[in-house]
Amino acid sequence: MTNDSVNKLHVKYKLKLKRIVIKIALLTAVTFLVFILSLSVGSVHISFADVLLVLLSKLGIVNYNPGSLGKVVLGIRFSRTMATILVGSSLAVSGVLIQSTTRNPLAEPYLLGLSSGALMFLCISLIIYPKICMSSVAIMLISFAGALTALFVTMTISELLGGTPLSLILAGIAVSAMFAGVSQLLAFIVQFKLNIPFLMLLLGSFSNIVLTHVFIVSISFTIGFIIALTISKRLNALIFGDEHAFQLGYNPKVLRYIAILTTSFLTGVAVSVSGLIGFIGLVVPHISRLIVGNDHRVLIPSSALLGGSLLCFSDVIVRCLSSNLGLGELPVGALMSIIGAPFFIYLLLKKMRG
């Protein structure tokens, strides 16, 4: 190849894409490793080899019986592992969507109040009609509506405050605090009067996961992810402003509505499964941007992978800590806040200093 053709833009671009594909493949491998790790680690240790053999026998490739204890443990752990991955991915993709449509690098579903909105709606509906927890569709719709309502309130207040990036965050914190407060009061009623384990949801936890949860969140993630990927090209345009997107033939208003609905759906359903887990939607998109750049066509899949593996790994750590300390379940949401909040402060500092 001559020097000249190396400098050609299309050659460079192809090379860049190739590198990104490799990075996404690596992220996929990492996610798989974390998945295996999560199945193996816990109060009962199961070796990596056993986990792999069980997975292979499930797929019908080999014949292997791990014994009844192993089967039970893996069954429970499988639900929990899948839930952490899917919730992490959902929250990360939500983060990308909300950051790009608001053009605000500080935006995040938890900080904007979506999570506590979803939780509050869940509490209220459980108190009004406790049997609702039997219906997955109802749970999905209610938490979706809660997240959407909270986002709407936040954005309205932010507009009244002048619609700046910081006013959005301030409005979000206020709305979030209010809805979280209501949720906290109601959660006690739900837990002690109705005997539904709910308090852990305030802190964000996967201790009560069952297979139905996995089913719910895998549906919402699949739908949300496909929509996000479909509008990824448009998001590339929208980030440069409504007027820029418009001249490329897109309708920025419609695009924003789609993104907001998708974010609320992804976040709402994730919250109904795991409770309040913050900062994943903030930290993961930023790290993904560092790894693959700003093109949403690759940013969205890599954020999903990174979010899934990060939350799953955090949950592994939490489980190890819990069983070693003998304190019962520690909430993974707390760990995420410990990791995420300093990152938020760092972004805030960067923003305030211009």
């Binding site: 050609k8 833009l9 299309h10 671009y13 894409l17 950051q99 053009r103 605000n104 690098p105 500080l106 090209k233 590339n236 345009a237 980030i239 440069f240 402003g241 007027e243 820029h244 418009f246 001249q247 490329l248 033939g249 897109y250 309708n251 941007r289 750049g293 700003n294 093109d295 066509r297 972004l347 960067k350 923003k351």
Partner: protein, 259 residues
Amino acid sequence: MVKIKILNLSFSYDSIEALKNVSIEFKEGEVVSIIGPNGAGKTTLLKCIAKLLKPKKGVIYLDGRDVWSISNKDLAKILTHSLFEVPKGFNLTVLDFLLTSRYPHFRGFWETRKDLDVVEEALTMVNAKHLAERRLEELSDGELQRIVMAKLIAHQAKVLLVDEPTVHLDLKYQLEILSMLRRISKINNTLTIMTLHDLRLASIFSDKLVLLHCGKIVATGAPHEVLTKENIAKTYGVEVEVIKHRKAGLIIVPLNTLP
């Protein structure tokens, strides 16, 4: 053959009338500057043509069709403008920005080789190939304006609408950007409409001027027809001397503000 015909255009922001009964025609190959004092409605007129603002009254015809009857997708292939924002904190690069300008031209998920070649050619035309991987936030005003020019080229539209291409630029970059814009328009035979503050630069680089005042067209035509002592006094409220220079076009010397 691209032609824009504006008939009796009126626009108002809530209660403030920004454009009143504007009628004018432009055709391809022309470089037009819209001039006028602050708040005259220059950018509003540009936005109306770009279909970003819906006029209260009147019609804008693009090749005989009302722009509001043209779908956004079709319009995207014909018309481009320079309005955009760079959100802070995302580390968006020049290439992130320029590649979007190809979106009206391909329906698939990924750019083809041709799209990248067009972007590369555009960058070469504005001497900015070395800026391709740079972050937009760290570019100087002059560099950023060059990237905007590259974007207008890469979009391959027939109508270019440019808002204040020389704002924040020093003398050298002002000349560079405007001669670039004129060259692009002449090579591709586009219709270029820009808003400008500097009357002297407008007189050098435009084929046609439109002088706006309080939302009305006061004068239109070749620079020397529009930039007269009387017109400037009437619109800007400034007493000036207009000197014709052999090389530099019209030199407008402000003398006094008029009461």
